[in-house]
């Protein structure tokens, strides 16, 4: 009976498809362990760079400076291809950067989004925080702001690797992608909303397949005598492709 309970407990834990871990040690033991640096992923060099700033013998830099040092290290090293220039090309083959910094003492925040032509994402975010009353600048205007505040640029953020990745994706008919409810479903754009497409063209026929419970399990398009699945639910997030 006891083993059955354990088995049931194990199955219940498996049912919840999440996972967790906690550090050892109590609060009293940890109270004397400051400073602390924590980072997503095994980006050791980034943590070491932040640690050097925050633990310096002369009293150390600020927490904000340490975060900038750590994230900048990752931008230079292009950690996993998910940070900094030279990775994650968009549909046009261009790399853009998103970054944010927050001071937990003052609740000040600076951020840049979809920033083009500037390699220093976290430094640009810090400049927004320190030299503007805004929180978030985007696109070309973020680029202009960063360069006007002294960051180097404009620079090409692509790399041979990102261009090759993008060319392979084009050859694979731009699959996978992030579009949904558009035509064409499985080739490169330009894309059109399906409603307007069906109204405009009798060649595109949408067919919806239902499962046994009556739910929609997959949508198909008939175009040029080909049945093509929509890929809106394709898994594209993984260790080397994520935010």
């Amino acid at each position: 009976g006891r083993s059955s309970v354990r088995l049931l407990l194990g199955l219940l834990l498996l049912r919840f498809n999440w996972c967790s871990a906690a550090s050892g040690g109590g609060a009293e033991e940890l109270a004397g362990t400051f400073p602390v640096v924590v980072s997503t992923w095994p980006f050791r060099e980034a943590v070491r760079a932040a640690w050097e700033v925050i633990s310096a013998a002369d009293g150390g830099g600020s927490a904000v400076d340490a975060v900038v040092a750590g994230c900048s290290a990752c931008e230079v090293l292009r950690c996993d291809g998910t940070v900094g220039p030279g990775g994650s090309p968009d549909e046009n083959g261009e790399t853009t950067l998103d970054a944010l910094i927050m001071n937990g003492a003052t609740m000040e925040i600076g951020a840049v989004a979809a920033m083009r032509y500037v390699k220093d994402g976290i430094k640009a975010a810090k400049l927004v925080m320190e030299h503007s009353k805004h929180t978030l600048l985007v696109g070309d205007k973020a680029t202009s702001f960063a360069i006007s505040m002294g960051l180097p640029g404009p620079s090409n953020l692509s790399s041979p690797e990102s261009i090759e990745k993008w060319e392979n994706w084009r050859q694979n008919h731009c699959q996978p992608n992030f579009w949904k409810n558009v035509a064409p479903a499985s080739s490169c754009g330009p894309y059109h909303p399906i409603n307007s497409v069906s109204a405009e063209s009798e060649d595109d026929v949408k067919d919806v397949v239902h499962d046994s419970q009556g739910g929609v399990c997959q949508e198909w398009f008939q175009n040029d005598n080909l049945l093509e699945p929509m890929n809106s639910h394709l898994k594209v997030v993984n260790r080397h492709n994520h935010d």
Partner: protein, 136 residues
């Protein structure tokens, strides 16, 4: 994406995130990286959080804001991290993402969904960076 938290010797906290986003995104797309409370959040009085994963989903839930506010209300970092992830997973069972949480005492924890997650830590009792794996 890197999301980083630093607590200095005085207990002051800063967080930051840097990313080049999703591969083959539609031009103009912005993920959760620059969204306060989504990829990272901090409050000296409470602690901090960093996140990684599917930004298109995560930014709809502001998981790091949720983590910090849960800790403010008394949750331990592990419970706060689990709670933030489970709130997303309830609505998006196929969601892929993870968070780490750290309170102002330096206690840290991680939680994830859809993949194995790792986060890195260095404090004054360590000789070098330690990597913690959060298993499914």
């Amino acid at each position: 994406t890197i999301s980083m938290t630093v607590i200095d010797k005085m207990g002051h906290i800063a967080v930051g995130t840097s990313t080049n986003g999703a591969t083959f995104k539609i031009p103009g797309r912005v993920g959760d990286g620059p969204i306060p409370g989504s990829s990272s959040y901090a409050d000296d009085e409470v602690g901090a959080c960093g996140a990684t994963g599917d930004g298109d989903v995560m930014m709809r839930f502001l998981p790091c804001y949720q983590v910090v506010e849960s800790m403010r209300r008394g949750m331990e970092p592990l419970d706060a991290a689990r709670d933030a992830i489970s709130r997303i997973a309830r609505k998006y069972p196929d969601f892929v993402g993870a968070v780490f949480a750290i309170n102002r005492k330096g206690v840290h924890a991680g939680a994830c969904h859809g993949w194995t997650f790792q986060y890195s830590v260095r404090n004054s009792s360590m000789h070098d960076v330690e990597v913690i794996t959060v298993y499914p």
